[in-house]
Amino acid sequence: MAAEGSRDVGGRLLVLVVERDPHIRELEAHFLELAGFAIEFAADGKAALELARKVLPDVIITEILVPKLDGLALCRQIKSDPVTSGISVLIFSILAASARAKDAGADAFLSKPLADHRLVDTVQTLLEQRRRSEPKEHT
């Protein structure tokens, strides 16, 4: 189920991947698409912020070490803007930054390297958590 205002791409939930490493980008895209998600990419934090405001993804997966705007700053900006604050943010980094990710308002943190099952499970858990926290519609 997509968040309010998010773009449902052909019935699939949208994940914005913010990553510079071409191998990780390719593998993330492969495993997330295999799990049924639609993917958008950004190679730097600034482009990611603009894209997030435009397409309102369900989840943003970002490395901390990305140019122009680092992943933690990106997360803070996403979470402080009422338009984008409902997007789940997963910090997926080579840095041991679990506490900093939490402080920045991230919904989850994962260490690299990429383990497909762990990544997909985490994204699905985040979506499930968001679904549960949304107000139920009155019938």
């Binding site: 593998l27 680092d70 930054a97 506490a99 390297p113 383990a115």
Partner: protein, 469 residues
């Protein structure tokens, strides 16, 4: 980002992958770190593939598969056929797909080295492998037409393998001279070398960790043997990290000879090492054996390691000292016999420490140290072992004696070194004065205690060595 918080520091050590050998894991500081690229190198027949396969089967489970790729060196069928000779082979793991053998030969033959990365990527996407072994990677190197081509390919491989949660082993017939020049060594997180050295009529095999990022590994040459279980590794004996000061322990242990205890003002120190030196027939073995047997009467288990007398001969010697060998064993005597023909110092010491730990040994006799020296082509290595051995005994509060044949030719400076590392030195001899021979004993050195300096006569009776009043 500069605002690192204490909670962000990695609390746990790097996750590690067992090799399937407890001893090799110890050498590596707990195993190979996961998500690393490792090279296993050595000449043909050195045991590289066996090491990799043992590791594969030790880690194969129900989760993610383990991939073994052959390249252009050995046909896949041949690799699998020989694999079945080993005890670690489990057919069920092959059948279930927990371990997958595949060949890169066709891709490499048609595409050259460029064929590797797409094939690895495909394997990751379709199989999510936990471990990838490529054997032989050197064959891929030999296929490359230029250094830049090889570097580009390796850059891609390293990037891909670092991005994904897998651990890679590149097996190859490399030698040490290739390390500075070949690009695969620059991307490797770990390098383990297997080597073989001819020693008389047999080969001695050694394993050496040349590099292992993020690991406190044990340096130096570690001996190993190949048997049905794979590689049986004997970690190099090093001194205990915290040497103990035995002089703090004021307890004494009896030498087993009352008169000698008096000469030493109460016996040997607990945890001390004593060298008994003398010529053939002077009584060294009798004294060493008597020391160990005396411990049994005091509830102290003992170990007697010898290289000359086989178990039957030794049983006879024990009975010659008035104790039945079965009774002695029941009281805690452990006889360890190592044939001088098959002597490999590393394997002997691993067995020795295994027995010491298992049986709570308090007294040890090594008879004779010269046999160890002769068995090795590497004298400094033996010397280092003997020093470490005495330090370990000291740390474990084990009193030890070692015998040394003074007429032994070829020991050279080793005899001096062994003497220097001993806490006490006893000299036994047969002296001839005119037509009469007599046995004599002298305390040459005894650290930390006043002792009798005189040359004293002794006799060997049905109960062993006895000082003449």
């Amino acid at each position: 980002m500069s605002d690192e918080q204490p909670g962000d520091r990695r609390a746990a050590a790097l996750p590690r992958l067992s090799t399937g050998s407890r001893e090799l894991d110890e050498i590596l500081g707990g195993g190979f770190p996961t998500n690393s690229i490792n090279i296993i190198m050595g000449e043909p027949g050195s045991g590289k593939t066996i090491l990799a396969e043992r590791l594969m089967f030790a880690n194969a489970g129900d989760d993610r598969p383990i991939l073994f790729f052959t390249t252009l060196s050995e046909p896949l069928a041949k690799v699998v056929r020989y694999l079945q000779e080993f005890e670690f082979f489990q057919e069920a793991k092959l059948v279930s797909g927990a371990v997958i053998y595949d060949s890169l030969g066709e891709d490499l033959a048609t595409e050259g080295v460029k064929g590797l990365v797409p094939r690895l990527k495909e394997a990751i996407k379709t199989l999510s492998p936990k471990i990838i072994v490529i054997d032989s990677f050197k064959a891929i190197h030999d296929l490359s037409s230029s250094v830049p081509e090889m570097r580009r390919m390796l850059y891609e491989v390293a990037g891909l393998m670092t991005a994904y949660d897998t651990t890679v082993f590149l097996v190859g017939e490399y030698d040490e001279q290739m390390i500075p020049s070949l690009p695969e060594f620059a991307v490797a997180d770990g390098i383990v070398e297997l080597a073989r050295r001819k020693q008389g009529t047999r080969d001695e095999r050694y394993l050496r960790v040349l590099k292992l990022r993020g690991s406190h590994y044990q340096e130096g040459l570690h001996a190993f043997r190949i048997n049905a279980r794979g590689l049986e590794v004997y970690p190099r004996l090093t001194s205990p990290e915290v040497p103990t000061d035995y002089s703090n322990d004021r307890r004494r242990v009896s030498t087993g000879v009352t008169g000698l205890d008096q000469m030493l003002r109460g016996g040997f120190w607990v945890g001390s090492s004593t060298l008994i030196q003398g010529s053939t027939g002077s009584g060294k073995t009798t004294l060493a054996l008597q020391f160990v047997l005396d411990g049994l009467t005091r509830g102290e288990p003992g170990l007697y390691l010898n290289f000359q007398e086989n178990p039957t001969q030794l049983a006879r010697s024990i009975e010659g000292l008035g104790m039945n060998v079965d009774e002695a064993k029941a009281r805690g005597l452990h006889l360890m016999y190592a044939s001088p023909v098959e002597l490999q110092i590393d394997s002997i010491l691993v067995k020795l420490f295994g027995i010491i730990k298992e049986r709570g040994i308090k007294r040890v006799a090594v008879d004779a140290v010269g046999d160890l020296v002769h068995a090795s082509s590497d004298l400094p290595r033996v010397l280092g072992y003997l020093y470490a051995l005495s330090q370990h005994f000291s740390a474990r509060k084990i009193a030890s004696v070692m015998t040394l044949e003074t007429s032994d030719v070829g020991l050279g400076p080793i005899a001096g070194h062994v003497s220097a590392m001993s806490d006490a030195i006893l000299r036994v001899a047969v002296e001839r004065v005119h037509d009469r021979s007599r046995r004599v004993l002298q305390v040459i050195k005894a650290r930390g205690t006043e002792h009798d300096l005189d040359v004293r006569e002794f006799v060997i009776t049905g109960k062993g060595l006895d000082m003449v009043p």
